[in-house]
């Protein structure tokens, strides 16, 4: 029995190692805020969303599979949460009521395993109940398959079979054991046997028998040793069965956790009146960046109020150079690109009115950092070293986000370094977004009038106000630092 909600035909490995660059992605794109908003203190959800977001899917079928499951979740929040809560409850009950699960003594192992199994059967019945009441309202193949499977595997006949077994395990009519003869006729190879339903007592009532005398302690000890040998396998079977059921609940919980996290985030965004949408995936071979109202999701979560969204229509572009006034919203724009790409590629909705994009073969960030605290290397050294490590891993089709990189030297040198790096990346099919003040670099590309390079600029109104909108625009020589100076030093023109 499998709960395949994350992938159509394989299990979701919640512990999967994310690819290279995960730490940088998380800190540069401010993902921890997103994770916390999704997890809301639930450790399993935290693990699940981290894994899902960072281990991007590369296959559009896989993404659409998850999107359809997610749509179902949004439509049927209560049922999904109920399902998830059931798995949580199961583990809670095991922890609280069955903590005395002892494996040291065989008889106590047996009885505690039976008792645990009985609790789990109860939870399975509830699970089946949820499937029964929900199956009509779900459409995604993921959920429909799950619910039908639950109905089929956990049907009434199954529960009555299980009950029958659990009843027999009470050994009300004694323990039935088969044996063979060992090398000196001692009984060996004890196997616990089921009693036949019909005529059991008729046969056994008159079978030749031996009665242990009441004061025969050794005899009594012998009898219980016999029973222990027989129930050794039985206890193992019950305990392992309980383990199997628990493992199933665990798998179900892991598969659901991600979606519950999405629902948590969805609800929060709804409250702030911000749009979300299920993104459209470009066909294979297409290069497409089209969005309306895309915003930085972690910024909005932190501020707890709406933020400015951006729009773009850029197909077949391989390089985006973003220039413009300081504090104009360039970094937030860059972040929103990275965030939405990750969210799309794990099957989530994205923070926009609408979005269509192609799948990236890996996402890498190179953002400006604090001066190296240990002063091991100069800033440029550190930046180049970081870039080199990215170069070890980055492949064709990847998405590279630069934020003010290589500006820790004079403009001429910085521009030259950037030009070389960006050209190389571009020539090898890597999509680059570059937020920069390096005018020579930006202008260099502008002068070439290439058809696959887009220039964007942070909008600044005539009076100096930033709108935080990123619009198409050629690079300008000044960064309008003057505005800031005026503002801070309060000198009017």
């Amino acid at each position: 029995m499998k709960a395949h909600l994350m992938f159509k035909d394989k299990d979701f490995d919640i512990e999967q190692e994310p690819p290279f660059g995960k730490d940088m992605l998380v800190s540069d794109l401010e993902l921890n805020t997103v994770f916390s908003a999704m997890a809301r203190e639930d450790k399993v959800i935290m693990e699940a969303v981290q894994t899902a977001l960072l281990c991007s899917l590369k296959n559009s079928d896989e993404i659409r599979y998850r999107q359809s499951v997610l749509k179902d979740c949004i439509k049927n929040q209560a049922a999904v949460r109920k399902l998830y809560a059931l798995t949580i409850e199961t583990f809670e009950r095991k922890r609280k009521e069955h903590w005395w699960y002892s494996t040291q003594y065989l008889s106590s192992l047996f009885s505690s395993a039976v008792s645990l199994l009985q609790m789990l059967i109860g939870m399975l019945k509830k699970l089946r109940g949820i499937a029964d009441e929900s199956i009509q309202s779900f459409e995604s193949s993921g959920f429909v398959t799950l619910f039908s499977m639950l109905q089929k595997e956990l049907d009434d006949d199954y529960f009555s079979l299980v009950n029958q077994h659990l009843n027999e395990l009470k050994f009300r009519e004694g323990t039935l054991i088969s044996a063979r003869l060992g090398h000196y006729n001692q009984g060996v190879a004890y196997v616990l046997r089921r009693k036949q339903k019909k005529c059991f007592w008729r046969r056994w009532a008159f079978a030749p028998s031996f009665i242990i005398a009441s004061r025969d302690d050794r005899g009594a000890a012998d009898l219980s040793a016999r029973r222990d040998r027989a129930i050794n396998e039985g206890a193992n079977a019950v305990a392992q069965s309980a383990d199997h059921v628990l493992d199933f609940f665990n798998a179900l919980r892991n598969e659901l956790a991600f979606y519950v996290g999405c629902l948590n985030l969805y609800n929060q965004l709804q409250q702030t009146n911000l749009p979300t949408c299920i993104p459209e995936i470009a066909a294979a071979g297409e290069s497409c960046r089209e969005f309306k109202g895309l915003y930085d999701i972690s910024l909005t979560l932190m501020l707890k109020k709406p933020v400015i969204g951006n729009s773009l229509l850029a197909d077949n572009q391989s390089l985006f150079i973003i220039t413009g006034a300081n504090q104009g919203g360039k970094t937030t724009f860059l972040r929103s690109i990275g965030q939405s790409q990750l969210m799309m590629q794990c099957g989530m909705f994205v923070p926009a009115d609408s979005l269509k994009a192609h799948i990236s073969n890996g996402i890498y960030t190179h953002f400006i950092k604090e001066e190296d605290a240990q002063m091991k290397s100069g800033k440029l050294d550190e930046e180049l070293e970081r870039m080199s490590r990215i170069a070890d891993h980055i492949k064709k089709g990847a998405l590279m986000l630069f934020n003010e990189s290589f500006s820790s030297t004079n403009e001429r040198e910085g521009s030259e370094i950037s030009r070389q790096i960006v050209s190389a990346l571009k020539d090898h099919g890597i999509e680059v977004f570059y937020v920069t003040h390096l005018f020579e670099f930006a202008n260099g590309y502008f002068g070439q009038h290439l058809s696959d390079v887009t220039f964007l600029r942070a909008e600044r109104l005539k009076n100096g106000t930033r709108t935080f909108r990123i619009m198409p625009g050629k690079p300008l020589e000044s960064g309008f630092g003057e505005d800031l100076y005026q503002k801070i030093f309060g000198i009017r023109e």
Partner: protein, 515 residues
Amino acid sequence: MFYSILFPDMKRQTAPSPEMPEYFKDLNLDQITSSILKGKSEYALEQFFYTPLKDTDAIVYRQDVMRDMKAPELQKQIKLFAKTIFDTEKRVIDTLDHLSDPESYHNNYLVKGHLLHDAQQYCHAIKAMVDELKQDSLESAGLSNFAEYLHDYALSDAFISLSSYVERLKSNLATVKYCMLINSGTIRVRKYEGQQDHSREILQVFDKFKQSATKDYRHKLSEEPRAEHVEAAVLNLVATWYKDIFDDLDRFCTQYQNFIDDRISLFSREVQFYIAYLEYIQRFQEIGLNFCYPEMCTSKEHIKSTDSFDLALAGSLIPQQIPVANSFALTHPEQIIVVTGPNQGGKTTFARMFGQLHHLGSIGCAVPGTEASLFLFDNIFTIFEQEEDVKTLSGKLQSDLIRLHEVVNKATSQSLIIINEIFSSTTLHDAVWLGRKMMQAILVIGALAVCVTFLDELASYSPEIVSMMSTVQEDDPVKRTYKIVRREADGLAFAVHIAQKYGLTFDALGRRLQR
């Protein structure tokens, strides 16, 4: 026709003497024997180590077997075989005890099961040994005859019917499958009627939830019954459902009370003689000391031994030290070896070695050394220094003389006499006089002798006497070499040198006292 692995036939079997020979203690043969027999007391082998053989054929018979048994694989298989037969027989005797008493607590199917199982072990051991002996090249008459005996036994009607009865019973018992219903204090028994394996069924019911392999919760439990009387009672109940098989078992136990062949049983005990000795000498061979099979001669033409050593001393020295090897030779008319020289030089050890070699050679064992020709004696007499015996009120001299008198009366020309440092508690003049009388008496008897003494005068008496001396290192006269060599007695006991070392000569002591 095989008789015994220790004797070629009944005629040559000497009556065993369970008593230790008188000369054992003086020659430290008691120490050697107890080392050899450590851990082997159940085989009662002492008598074979105590009793010299009188017949060269019997000795060669044993030497050949011992030579064959040095081969490691054969030795291993024989050890296993002998132990299996011997231990099985012990158990069978116990079992028969129980089964002969109908009231006995132990007269039950478990014990009968043991008997059957022992019979099977016995049959398997026999068959395995027959196969093993076919493959080996056996030079000794003893083992070849035994191999033939065993081969014929394995083909005999008696063995074949035992073996097939056992196998038939065993395979029938393997078909027995029963069920016990345990309810409070009662066990009921019926045949197994195809009831399903409950544990497997439970696993099947819940198998659908399985995601991956899980832990194994099984405990390690013994399959031995806790209480014999309960298991025996259960078996009686089982027997009612399989009457034919269990009646057959009963019949087997009555018919094959003692199925072990006498000759094979005797072999399993007697072959331990060779095993014990070979195991004992291995520790010496491992560090490079040599052993050889002596030629036991009936004439005294030429008696010798090359590079031999005292086994008891060697046992206490190894592995830290190796004993010094010594040789001797007596060619007619040489009859007596007189050993003189510095104290603590190895003289008594030498004398003991002479005695040990002869005794061990006479029971057919390999002896220390690279080659040896030894005399087949009728008896060994030892005259060693006695402790002063307050009870007898004899002085030492008197004890020595009484003993000497005894020996002179009993010894024949076929005897060996070994004398160690007697006549030490009298004047030199008397000691020499008595000593010469003693030598004369021995010469008259014609026995071979070794005499360790401080009386150099005895060493040059006549052509029948060989003089040997213990030696010291040339550069440091205090150090003994422990080498005993043929040499004229040179009259110096070197005691003076020792005194010098400790500053106790007249001159040296005088100077010290003057201070």
